[in-house]
């Protein structure tokens, strides 16, 4: 990966030098100036409108009793306090995820760590663990963990793969030439990493960090079990205690503002660093750094992370399965539920990926206000708690699409609204990895934008898009609050069954569902871990 505007240049061509060049490049990498073709713009706008539905609902509900009332809720001292708590938790979890994600990615991709491939796969598997299961496992073992520490721990351990995955992919993809040059100039490995490698990882890490941040802001399961009051939890309790949707909606609007701020901040990081690369054809595998005497420490670190993030919750589940008196294996019911879960998650992943594709391509290839707005719109629903998104879809469906209400399509749509950013981020990253020079060549040969998209961009980005679909599939499987409200009456997913069983207080009875959920979600997670861009 070389900086910004050399993107469209064949490798070996003199890199553009100088700040001025970089500045112009910042707002205008490859494809700039060109308006996104209609074939992208129209579906992208549809996706964005779709993602903005909850905002429309929130506006209606928040202003229901007049702006004064909504403002009173928002301007309350407690709102500020919750804001601080939410942001504090987000900051700590993001920082911890960056440390875990980047260190594991570097160790598994760039060093002679024994079993690097296996460690890389193991580092993605925690994705399969729902936050509420992780939190429950920790609470069962360490009741004192409740509170900020416990919430931060549980959330970090389930979400660091969001950083690990893109950073590992970026490490595999970047041209080692710069690092070799730095090394030949006498820089040590650490200095080379900090000065040369890390800056190039910034877009990938920032993208992952954004997903982690939005995940933390919207999480209800872990903070609820850990009894740590955040914005999302306050919104939830507000619905539950008062049946008054106005305060909940007003607080949700604050979450949306936070999301937009975060997305804008991430876009700035991206703008400064740039992400184009010289093209897959030129990248050689980097020389693997011998760990030498530090090898045991590296192994210990990887082992410790995998132990707390994976072995521990699985072990706890195993214990419940073995020891619980209420554990009964209703295999037929379990199979039905698992099948329904797979179906609905697959449909969710398919729709989300289809909607994300045009947005992701525009975000990667086109700059300017319009592209930025589209991308930000796609993120709007992501930080909202599932119950808010679900109620907004209840609202719209009951009024404008009644036949769809409490039918599968609506649930699938909810997944798309909730998880569009996951798929958009993957698509954007994948398109960025595809050298734009090939598109330019195709265009110069007279190919229409559509053919360029179909014959060049999409095939090159396909593995990354598929990886995004797999990730979306995993998060759809784990989703709980929206599924509870929107599933067809009588339908269950593994997550809702798990919830029902724990609701009756028998975690041992819930353990088979939790175990099945983790095992099924582990398959796409495993594939993600093996996926090499």
């Amino acid at each position: 990966m070389t900086t910004t505007s050399s993107a469209a240049r064949p490798a070996g061509a003199p890199a553009p030098a100088g700040r001025r060049r970089l500045r112009t490049a910042r707002g205008a990498p490859a494809g700039s100036g060109r308006r996104p073709p209609l074939v992208l713009l129209v579906p992208a706008c549809i996706a964005a409108l779709f993602a903005l539905l909850p905002l429309g609902y929130l506006a209606v509900r928040a202003l229901e009793r007049g702006p004064g009332y909504a403002w009173d809720v928002v301007a309350d001292e407690r709102t500020l306090q919750l804001l601080g708590r939410s942001l504090g938790l987000t900051a700590v979890v993001v920082a911890a995820c960056l440390v875990l994600g980047i260190s594991l990615a570097w160790l598994t991709v760039r060093t002679d760590l024994p079993g690097a491939r296996a460690w890389s796969v193991l580092a993605t598997l925690p994705l399969a663990v729902p936050s509420y299961v992780a939190a429950f496992a920790w609470l069962a073992a360490v009741p004192q963990a409740a509170g900020f520490g416990g919430a931060a721990l549980a959330l970090t351990l389930v979400s660091f793969p969001y950083v690990h995955l893109p950073v590992a992919a970026a490490l595999r993809g970047i041209d080692p030439a710069q690092e070799e040059a730095a090394r030949s100039l006498g820089h040590g490995p650490l200095r080379t990493f900090l000065r040369v490698t890390l800056p190039q990882l910034r877009p990938a890490a920032a993208g992952g960090a954004l997903l982690v941040a939005l995940y933390v802001l919207s999480d209800f399961g872990a903070v609820s079990l850990m009894r740590y009051d955040t914005f999302t939890r306050a919104i939830h309790t507000s619905y539950r205690a008062s049946f008054d949707r106005t305060p909940a909606a007003a607080l949700s609007v604050v979450l949306v503002v936070m999301t937009v701020t975060l997305v804008a901040a991430e876009a700035r990081t991206r703008g400064r660093a740039g992400h184009a690369r010289a093209g897959t054809g030129t990248a050689r595998p980097a020389v693997q750094l011998p760990l030498g005497r530090r090898q045991p420490i590296a192994l210990l670190w990887c082992g410790a992370v995998v132990a707390v993030a994976l072995a521990f919750p699985l072990g706890t589940l195993g214990y419940w399965l073995a020891a619980g008196t209420s554990a009964t294996w209703d295999l037929a019911g379990l199979a039905d539920t698992a099948w329904a879960t797979l179906g609905v998650a697959a449909a969710g992943a398919a729709l989300t990926t289809a909607l994300a594709l045009p947005v992701g391509v525009i975000a990667a290839r086109h700059r300017g206000r319009r592209a930025q707005l589209l991308e930000q719109a796609a993120y709007a629903g992501h930080a909202l708690p599932g119950i808010t998104v679900a109620l907004s879809l209840v609202f719209f469906a009951v009024r404008y699409a009644y036949p769809l209400y409490q039918q599968l399509p609506l649930l699938v749509c909810a997944y798309a609204v909730l998880f569009l950013p996951v798929a958009v981020a993957a698509t954007r990253a994948a398109v960025l990895q595809a050298p734009p020079v090939l598109e330019d060549v195709a265009r110069s040969l007279g190919r229409s934008p559509l053919r360029v998209l179909r014959e060049v961009t999409v095939p090159l980005a396909a593995p990354g898009v598929a990886a995004g679909a797999a990730l979306t599939f995993v998060v759809c499987m784990k989703e709980l609050p929206a599924t509870l409200l929107l599933r067809p009456t009588g339908m269950d997913t593994l997550a809702t069954r798990l919830w029902t069983e724990t609701g009756a207080g028998s975690f041992a009875a819930a353990a088979p569902y939790a175990a099945t959920l983790i095992l099924l979600a582990a398959v796409p997670s495993y594939l993600l871990g093996r996926h090499r861009t």
Binding site: L139, R227, T237, F243, V394, L450, G490
Partner: protein
């Protein structure tokens, strides 16, 4: 040049959108029966599937119509019904507490029940507007660990658990709906100021918080705390599961109309706008029948409220012996203020 790809993209998008829609058409068919006439019934159940599925299966036979049950959390289902408005799919709302029914009643979403149904239940355990009725009662009690404290020393009032002698020895579940209903009851009975003071004292006294009643009971059994503020039936369920000698906790029923001895109910209301009122009425009658009431007594260990059924659960004090505070359960709907208070004090 343009058309093939545009076509393909459109086809792809359409397929993505249509596939689930087609699936929906399939499921629309089996639902048409419930929409057409007043034959089918959709129940939104805020009570846990494990607890009520057996009795709802019997209810289906009793009402002679297809019954579909949507399980969820009482409060979230109430919020959903409010959001659905007159388009609601629910014919009957089975709630875990009076507050959620009160909220629907306040918005005028519930149909008035016939006097004959209402009269089955003592007026203290039904809605003031005659649009919901309690099915089963649960009473707040203090669970204690006999290794840590003798029954004589267990406080007779929740006001005593904030005394210094119980410092760091009390467990409770602040996010639990029944704890919050109890705090609301205390506010109604003793006023906001006294309740706030009690909550502050409770916190200052180092009372330990748990996720739910069962976790609180676990903590009492494990000796982590000496006393726990819980609902009565958890203990009886556990005794039924393990045997009394294996349960390391005991219950103390509070005398003297203490706010800590509040009786709350699980109840049921009929949705006005669902077009299922006739079937729903049959369902209410069934739930108030001897068979259903006996089920609540035997299986969920709650107090049956109708059909002259008395609990057969061994060791459970008779319902009329309970010295609960006199309170209008409809007033428990003012949960919002309770929540604000709990937040102010820093307990939730």
């Amino acid at each position: 040049m343009r058309r093939p790809l545009a076509g393909r993209v459109t086809a792809l998008l359409a397929a993505g959108l249509l596939l689930p829609a087609l699936a929906a058409c399939g499921s629309d068919d089996d639902k048409s029966g419930s929409e057409g006439g007043d034959t089918g019934l959709v129940i939104y159940s805020g009570r846990n599937e494990k607890l009520v599925k057996p009795i709802l299966d019997k209810l289906e036979k009793a009402v002679g119509a297809e019954v579909q049950v949507r399980y969820g959390d009482s409060a979230e289902l109430a919020a959903q019904i409010l959001e659905e408005g007159d388009g609601t799919k629910a014919g009957l709302f089975l709630s875990q507490d009076a507050g959620a029914l009160g909220a629907l009643s306040k918005e005028g979403m519930l149909a008035k029940l016939p006097q004959s149904s209402l009269d089955e239940v003592d007026s203290a355990y039904r809605g003031g507007a005659g649009d919901w009725v309690g099915l089963s009662g649960r009473v707040r009690v203090i669970a204690y660990n006999p290794d840590k404290v003798t029954e004589d020393d267990v406080p007779d009032s929740v006001h005593d658990v904030v005394k210094p002698e119980w410092k760091d020895k009390v467990g409770f579940a602040p996010t639990n709906a029944s704890f919050q209903a109890f705090v609301t009851g205390m506010r109604v009975l003793e006023g906001d100021e006294a309740t706030r003071k009690w909550l502050e004292d409770l916190k200052a006294n180092g009372a330990k918080t748990y996720a739910h009643n069962l976790a609180t009971l676990d903590a009492v059994e494990a000796g982590e705390v000496s006393l726990g503020l819980v609902n009565h039936y958890y203990w009886y369920e556990r005794v039924a599961e393990k045997g009394e000698d294996k349960v390391g906790a005991k219950l103390h029923f509070l005398p003297g109309k203490d706010p800590g001895a509040l009786i709350n109910v699980a109840g049921v209301g009929i949705l006005k706008d669902s077009g299922q009122t006739q079937t729903a009425q049959k369902a209410v009658d069934y739930l108030l029948s001897k068979e259903a009431q006996t089920y609540f007594a035997d299986k969920t260990k709650e107090y049956p409220l109708a059909a002259g059924v008395t609990s057969t659960v061994e060791g459970l004090p008779p319902f009329d012996s309970l010295q609960s505070p006199d309170i209008d359960l409809g007033k428990l709907e003012s949960l919002q203020e309770t929540l604000a208070m709990l937040q102010d004090v820093g307990l939730v």
